[in-house]
């Protein structure tokens, strides 16, 4: 019994010190990590809305509306034009390629894709990752919509990286579905 208490106390002590140390480090870097995340999402949203001459403004109410039907949505931005009117939307979402792709899709009021940007590219380096870096390939998505896209019909697949092409296409489709939901519910 005494042995058991001794063991538990020692283990507890080590864990307590470790937890304290981690809490300290976490407090040091937490704000920086959050700021980085926000900045990356916002700058991606701005880039995909740039063709509309709009600036992204994060919209928690749209996100709340869409979150239930689209669990892979990360955040929604309204594209605000010069006069403050909504000219389009930017969706930051997660899609499944060979690994995960976190991408921003800009959609205008008519449901046309205006911009694509990749925030996280975890695809196989040199294969899938090339797809996301290939502007010529990505540009074929621009101007498409509002109907859902089918790979190999509306857009080409990328040789040797079919999964990544599928991932990009399904991400764009998800954004188009979200645009439709917003229009139907009158966002």
């Amino acid at each position: 019994m005494k042995k058991l208490v001794d063991l538990s106390l020692r283990l507890f002590l080590v864990c307590a010190i470790a937890a304290l140390a981690l809490g300290f480090v976490d407090a040091l870097v937490k704000d920086r990590i959050e700021a980085q995340e926000r900045k990356r999402k916002a700058s991606a949203a701005d880039r995909v809305l740039a063709p509309l001459g709009a600036v992204g403004e994060e919209s928690p109410d749209l996100a709340g509306m869409l979150q239930d039907s689209f669990p892979d949505l990360i955040s929604v931005f309204r594209g605000k034009g010069k006069g403050g009117e909504t000219v389009g939307y930017a969706f930051v979402l997660k899609s499944k390629g060979y690994n995960f792709i976190v991408m921003a899709v800009g959609v205008d009021r008519e449901g046309k894709v205006v911009g694509l940007d990749f925030i996280r590219n975890e695809e196989t380096p040199g294969l899938g990752s090339k797809v996301l870096e290939d502007e010529e390939y990505i540009s074929q998505f621009l101007g498409k919509g509002p109907e859902r896209l089918t790979l190999r019909v509306d857009v080409d697949a990328y040789t040797s990286a079919t999964y990544t092409s599928k991932g990009v296409t399904s991400g764009v489709n998800m954004a188009l579905d979200m645009w439709r939901t917003i229009v139907e519910k009158g966002g």
């Binding site: 001794d6 063991l7 283990l11 480090v25 990590i33 980085q36 040797s160």
Partner: protein, 210 residues
């Protein structure tokens, strides 16, 4: 067979004679996965050096305090704490973190680090434990760098470090098998064979004395 320990000898041991990857063959999965880019390997190597050195020092300091029955949980708590510190720190550098992704948290279960804690740090003085960690960490990093240079250079035709192309072979298409998973095994096996051959030859020249 008590050999005299020197700090230098302990350091060198980790790099050559008991190189964690090529000789002991422990902790192989992260190097096979991330050695597609040199840049990743630099950060992964630094992370591993930090974690293994710090956890070796702490475990060696606590070796009289740690009861035998619960030593493994304590080792894991210590190692996991350092890994989490690295993980949190790297998260402030999103460009790197996104590529190393899951491999940083997985350093916790890297058997290389636990093996050094159990097999070395818990039985040796702090300074030897520190140097042992450093040596093993350096050995790991060097193998990682060599593998990634081979795989990135010949698999993609160029080496890109921090958005600048360092070497460009100017080829139209490179053998992508090298950056795919089979490439990892091929490169690793060749390197391992090369080191074995070198060690054997050295032994023979010295007349059987290692």
């Amino acid at each position: 067979m008590e050999e005299r320990k020197t700090l230098w000898g302990e350091l060198k041991k980790g790099i050559l004679d008991s190189n964690p990857l090529l000789v002991l063959m422990v902790g192989l999965c992260s190097p096979l996965a991330i050695s597609t880019r040199v840049e990743n390997c630099i950060f992964m190597g630094l992370a591993v050096i930090f974690v293994i050195t710090c956890s070796n020092v702490i475990i060696s300091l606590l070796r009289k305090f740690i009861p035998d029955q619960v030593r493994i949980p304590i080792y894991i708590v210590v190692i996991a704490s350092f890994v989490t510190i690295v993980d949190l720190t790297l998260k402030t550098l999103p460009a790197i973190y996104e590529r190393l992704g899951v491999w940083i948290p997985l350093i916790v279960v890297n058997c290389m680090i636990l093996a050094r804690a159990e097999g070395y740090a818990s039985r040796n003085e702090v300074k030897y434990a520190a140097v042992d960690g450093l040596g093993i960490g350096l050995g790991y990093t060097m193998v990682l760098l060599v593998m990634s240079v081979i795989r990135e250079l010949f698999g993609t035709g160029k080496i890109v470090l921090f958005d600048t192309t360092v070497i460009d072979l100017k080829v139209r298409s490179a053998p992508i098998i090298l950056i795919m998973f089979p490439g990892a095994f091929l490169t690793f096996a060749l390197l391992s064979a090369l080191l074995q051959w070198y060690q054997l030859r050295r032994k023979r020249f010295k007349g059987g004395e290692s």
